[in-house]
């Protein structure tokens, strides 16, 4: 009987994890696959190139997780270098990184 229960549990796990796993539909961006995440950061960088608004860029990056915007951008540059992104794209990311490294959130500008 214990063997039957174990087989049942195994079947249940296979069904629930492999055959018909939970499907997520309303996920936050922090679990985006690395390439999508990199593309999102690249878009923010391209927009920053036009808008030159650090506050907006930082807010857009903040949806990707609790890391600082500079860390998010830096890891994207690493990804871009690993995956041979065109030089101009690496350059806009670099510009965004420079901006995020010097960015001070509003209210924290004091000494």
């Amino acid at each position: 009987m214990a063997a039957a229960a174990v087989i049942g549990i195994a079947l249940g796990l296979i069904y629930g994890w492999v055959i018909d796993p939970i499907e997520y539909t309303d996920v936050p961006p922090n679990i985006l696959r690395e390439d999508y995440r990199a593309d999102y950061v690249l878009m923010v960088a391209e927009a920053y190139h036009e808008e030159l608004d650090s506050e907006v860029a930082a807010r857009r990056l903040a949806v990707l997780g609790s890391e600082s915007p500079a860390v998010i951008t830096a890891s994207t540059i690493e990804y871009a270098n690993r995956n041979a992104f065109p030089q101009d794209e690496v350059q806009v990311l670099q510009n965004l990184l420079t901006a995020m490294q010097t960015y001070q959130p509003q209210g924290n500008t004091g000494p």
């Binding site: 009987m1 229960a5 049942g8 985006l32 999508y36 593309d39 878009m43 391209e46 650090s54 949806v63």
Partner: protein
């Protein structure tokens, strides 16, 4: 007797299997479900999808890379990406956000609809040093004030949703040149050139439609229209329904209400607008629509 025992034993095994199956499902679905770590943009929550679209549109405003913007929008899995862009732009305006924020979305929708970028290619990317960034950050506050001043002086959105054709340079011979004729710029006032009653049973009752065109009869997006009546006022822009035309906008009139229309950029003022009475084939009267066509001289 032995037959009975066999059956009882079989049921015990069966129920043990069933209980195990149930426990396995509870564990795999509720206690320790599959954890997503490599999500695609298509399964993002709707508010994050909106944010994603805003960033796509802002990136497009910088790069003017329409193909890439199209591919990025496809990642969101929308059935009608252009419609979603327009709808989001309208939602933003309805929520009281400025036209400046909604404009990149509307422009991307317009460009996707027409199939080419409205604005010329951007300048090449330059390297920013930390000193440059500090200078930019220092002027960001001032920039906001400047924008407000500019908006007061020139309330008309200056963006052009047209593509400037690139013509080859031709070396002129001795042929006499034609006399220069000034062409009205984007700020030239619009004039009412058409006022047509639309009687089409089945369409929205009291639909007031606008079509705004430039001097070359090309539809113009981003023009603010102000509709006023005794109990209120509404402001909206052309180009937020690109599937109906870049220069299109509409408004629903109520029965027995008199409206006035003004194009915000110093255009024509049209008063005494009411929903016309139409009659269907059965002789039943219903409120029809109006199509107002404005054109720059």
């Amino acid at each position: 007797m032995s037959r009975f025992n066999f059956r009882g034993h079989f049921f015990q095994l069966f129920f043990a299997l069933l209980a195990g199956l149930g426990l396995g499902l509870v564990y795999s679905w509720f206690l320790s479900p599959v954890t997503y770590v490599d999500a695609t943009p298509a399964i993002l929550r709707s508010d994050f999808k909106d944010q994603y679209r805003v960033v796509i549109a802002a990136s497009y405003a910088s790069t003017q890379n329409l193909d890439r913007a199209r591919v990025r929008l496809q990642l969101l899995g929308d059935v009608d990406p252009v419609g979603e862009l327009s709808a989001q732009a309208q939602r933003m305006l309805a929520a009281g956000e400025s036209f400046e924020k909604a404009r990149p979305l509307a422009q991307l929708a317009t460009d996707l609809n027409q199939g080419f970028a409205s604005l010329p290619s951007p300048t090449p990317f330059t390297i920013l040093t930390p000193q440059d960034v500090s200078a930019i950050s220092a002027t960001e506050t001032q920039t906001e004030e400047t924008v407000i001043i500019e908006e007061t002086v020139t309330p008309f959105p200056t963006i052009l949703f047209e593509q400037t054709p690139i013509t080859p340079v031709v070396i002129e011979t001795a042929t006499p040149r034609a006399t220069f004729t000034p062409i009205p710029g984007p700020g030239a006032p619009f004039a009412l050139v058409g006022r047509d009653t639309v009687c089409a049973p089945g369409t929205q009752a009291g639909l007031l439609q606008f079509m705004l065109m430039d001097s070359r009869r090309k539809q113009v997006a981003g023009i603010e229209i102000i509709v006023t009546w005794s109990r209120g006022e509404d402001r909206f822009f052309t180009g937020f329904k690109p599937e109906l035309g870049n220069g299109y906008a509409d408004f629903i009139m109520e029965k027995d209400t008199v409206y006035s229309v003004r194009i915000a950029a110093g255009g024509a003022f049209v008063s005494d607008i009411v929903a016309p009475a139409c009659t269907d084939p059965n002789g039943v009267s219903y409120p029809g629509g109006l199509l107002l066509t404005f054109q720059q001289p």
